[in-house]
């Protein structure tokens, strides 16, 4: 477990009156919890801690069993397991207070010998919670908790303990629901198991030691990557975690499987609603008419959506499905040159016949918005300053009220830019904790200038960007080939001859005509031949044909790394 106190329900300012208790002196609540765990005199169900006196009282009873009254300095911690009114799986850890069989016969106390002499007693099984005559499952019986009965004709019988249905509601206010078992692949598992199946402790998701990884809470805010609890953020077979062992990067966890299965919605499953993840209809042909490949085959396309691995995704036959949160149902096709395509599924409201489906190669008209962008339904999810958008149904890092259920017509899908509140343009909450929201990186359609298509011939460099910016200042970079300053004297003080002149020195190799791009203007020092020693010139001294100029080096260029002067296309094929 992540934290010993996670197993307890905390209530401030409460004292409970109990008979069976033990007093200790501890420095904090955690130490007190450790005392409770180690208590040998009775089953410790709760503890009280007083901050001023640092008094720790381990208790055999909890608030359900006895009277409570207020006490400002006290904090009551009750073991959640003793507050559960339902059983998880076969109920081996059921510690509730049901004390009669399913037929209504009162249970015999586990410590008594009549009317039945029990094999399972508190002495023999001190950790099985055999208190009073409560239903228990000390032997791991598949049919759940049971008890010896007070009917001499019936030695034992089973109790009617309800199964915790996915979401286990603990008693007590202020404690939210916690999923203690998993459905399907455990993608919705929110429980607190934090050890792997081989017993290794899990690494905290927000640390990079001992294993560096990308599954951070910051990057996956909706995946509930809390503490070091086992989770399934990547569609694995079941929940897992990175381990604290340097030699084992990650391992699966053993999470009990819920016996109740989530219902598949009836109406929605036969037609397209939302992204069609619950579509369970029998359409098996793509929008362009390709027949679908069977999910359980690997031909013609190899893939990872193997039905056995994903029992809840409905990967039957070759029907169109959306197992991975795509835009809508799709399938691999039997056409070896078309790996996959979307399917045309009738919309549940009958208004669309999948007409929104477009082949992935055709860009969607989603790079601009009209008006204030309230009708914008594109998939841009980057703000004007380049921040990534927070998902609308996520409350991390920003809590907000612009949720899909409150704005059902605003299409608040994923983390796409939207304008649910009539703002000036589409916007989103950002994933940057310091910036609540920003407008998105979108243009108004009427301002939009068409980008060249992928296969358009590229414009020439000269048309788009012109020539290299020459150095017009009186300094040189490198060998000064790009120097375009106005120094016109050599290093020894001689005046330069004009490049277009043939007097006093006649020359034919370096003239404005032969080197039109070399900047051979007037009599300025230049380096038309890339001389490693830098710019030079013919001199006006008849005795000296040419000489180097003495031009200072430019200071290092100031630049901002990673910032281009020309906007990239950012073309991506997904």
């Amino acid at each position: 477990k992540g934290d010993i106190l996670d197993d307890y329900l905390r209530t401030d300012g409460v004292w409970i009156l109990t008979r069976n208790k033990q007093s200790y002196k501890t420095n904090n609540e955690k130490e007190c919890a450790e005392k409770c765990e180690a208590e040998r005199n009775f089953n410790c169900r709760a503890f009280l801690f007083t901050r001023k006196k640092l008094q720790c009282l381990t208790l055999a009873e909890n608030a359900k069993m006895t009277v409570t009254f207020s006490s400002t300095d006290a904090v009551l911690y009750e073991k959640k397991i003793y507050l559960l009114q339902c059983r998880r799986g076969i109920g081996k850890d059921y510690r509730g207070m049901e004390a009669k069989t399913w037929r209504g016969i009162p249970c015999q106390k586990w410590a008594e010998k009549t009317p039945h002499n029990p094999n399972y007693t508190p002495e023999k099984h001190p950790n099985a919670g055999l208190d009073e005559n409560y239903c228990r499952n000390p032997d791991g019986d598949e049919r759940g908790p049971w008890c010896y009965t007070t009917d001499s004709a019936t030695r034992f019988d089973y109790c009617n303990i309800p199964e915790c249905e996915g979401q286990v509601m603990h008693t007590g206010e202020g404690l939210g629901p916690t999923t203690e078992c998993m459905q399907c692949n455990g993608e919705d598992y929110h429980g607190e198991v934090s050890r792997t199946e081989s017993g290794l402790e899990c690494q905290h998701w927000d640390t990079q030691e001992p294993h560096m990884h990308g599954f951070t809470p910051k990057h996956f805010p909706e995946k509930d990557l809390k503490l070091n609890y086992c989770r399934n953020p990547d569609g694995e077979l079941r929940p897992w975690c990175f381990t604290t062992s340097p030699t084992k990067r990650w391992e699966y966890c053993n999470i009990p499987r819920c016996t109740m299965h989530p219902p598949v919605s009836g109406l929605g499953s036969q037609c397209l609603s939302g992204k069609g993840e619950d579509y369970r209809g029998r359409i098996a042909i793509t929008k362009s008419g390709n027949a679908c490949q069977h999910w359980n085959t690997q031909f013609p396309h190899r893939h990872g959506w193997i039905p056995d691995r994903y029992p809840c995704k409905g990967l039957e036959e070759n029907y169109c499905r959306n197992p991975g949160g795509e835009k809508r149902p799709w399938c691999y096709t039997i056409n070896s040159s078309v790996r996959w395509e979307y399917c045309a599924i009738p919309h549940c409201d009958g208004t669309e016949q999948g007409i929104a489906d477009v082949p992935m190669e055709v860009p969607l008209p989603e790079e601009c918005y009209r008006g204030k962008g309230q009708s914008y339904r594109g998939t841009t999810s980057i703000t004007a300053s380049g921040k990534k958008c927070q998902a609308w149904n996520s409350m991390f890092p920003h809590r907000h009220e612009k949720t899909p259920d409150r704005f059902p017509n605003a299409d608040l899908r994923d983390n796409y830019c939207r304008n649910p509140d009539g703002d000036n343009s589409p916007w989103c909450f950002t994933t940057d904790p310091s910036v609540t929201w920003e407008y998105c990186n979108l243009k108004r359609c009427d301002d939009h200038t068409q980008e060249p298509a992928t296969n358009d011939p590229p414009a020439t460099t000269e048309q788009n960007v012109g020539l290299t910016t020459p150095t017009t200042s009186d300094c040189i970079n490198g060998n000064g080939k790009d120097y375009r300053g106005t120094i016109a004297k050599t290093g020894r003080g001689r005046t330069c001859q004009e490049w277009s002149s043939q007097k006093p020195h006649s020359h034919k190799y370096f003239t404005p005509v032969t080197h039109p791009r070399a900047g051979l203007d007037k009599n300025y020092c230049r380096n038309p031949d890339g001389d490693v020693n830098g710019p030079w010139c013919y001199t006006t001294d008849p005795r000296k044909a040419w000489e180097y100029c003495d031009i200072p080096k430019c200071p290092p260029a100031q630049y901002e790394c990673g910032k281009s002067k020309f906007r990239p296309k950012l073309c991506a094929q997904r």
Binding site: D234, N464, A557, C571, A572, Q573
Partner: protein
């Protein structure tokens, strides 16, 4: 680059072309400082002599006919000492920083990418018939967490922790031969940061076979020390 598109000219001003002394392009690289280029070590296998290589900067066309092109000799080359596929080239003289030649940003030491970043690769490499040959192409796709990439149906444990992989699950677009040594950059706020050096792949753009890139953030101390000491 398979699929993707022809980039806007000079929109990736840190991209360099690594060439033979005769001027033939064979690998990419990235300008990380006016006088330093980051590339893949396997691009330097043919010769350990710096004189065997030339670096072209500021170009969009592989033909390098633009006036913006700067050419530099390689003064020194440094391969990562533990044989990771990453290397540094010191140019004979600093590149001139202008609108066409700008260094990329490097990531913080050991910074990690989440499994969702949209990143971009560029190069003049093989297009596998998808067009744009001879021009600097680009394509974008997400980084895939190593755990996923190492699944049996993907790269089956071949990806080491000093590497990262990126691509589309269904393939279709990828870096390819000739793009090696070039950058995988991701937008961080308003700057591009180089997180990967194009290294290897199983074919190009194959389904479930994303490309593999050297994880630059693991080599920041090495890069710094080489640049400071040379």
């Amino acid at each position: 680059i398979v699929a993707g598109c022809i980039s806007h000219p000079h929109s990736w001003p840190w991209q360099i072309s690594l060439r033979t002394s005769f001027g033939m392009h064979f690998c990419g690289g990235t300008l990380i400082d006016p006088q330093w280029v980051l590339t893949a070590a396997h691009c330097l296998e043919k010769s350990s002599r710096p004189a065997a290589y030339k670096v072209y900067l500021g170009l969009h066309r592989e033909g390098a006919s633009e006036a913006s092109v700067q050419k530099r000799d390689v003064e020194k080359l440094f391969k990562e000492p533990y044989r990771a596929d990453i290397a540094l080239l010191k140019l004979s003289s600093p590149a001139i920083i202008n609108n066409h030649v700008i260094p990329v940003c490097l990531p913080k030491e050991n910074s990690v990418l989440g499994g969702r970043e949209e990143c971009y690769v560029t190069g003049w490499g093989d297009t596998k018939g998808t067009g744009g040959d001879g021009y600097l192409k680009e394509t974008g796709f997400p980084v895939i967490e190593n755990k996923i990439c190492n699944r049996p149906e993907f790269l089956n444990g071949r990806v080491k922790k000093h590497e990262l992989c990126a691509g589309n699950i269904h393939g279709g677009t990828d870096s390819c031969q000739g793009d090696s040594g070039g950058p995988l950059v991701c937008l961080d706020q308003d700057k591009f940061v180089q997180h990967g050096v194009t290294s290897w792949g199983l074919g190009c753009a194959q389904p479930m076979k994303p490309g593999v890139y050297v994880r630059v953030s693991n080599y920041i101390p090495w890069i710094k020390s080489i640049m400071e000491n040379h």
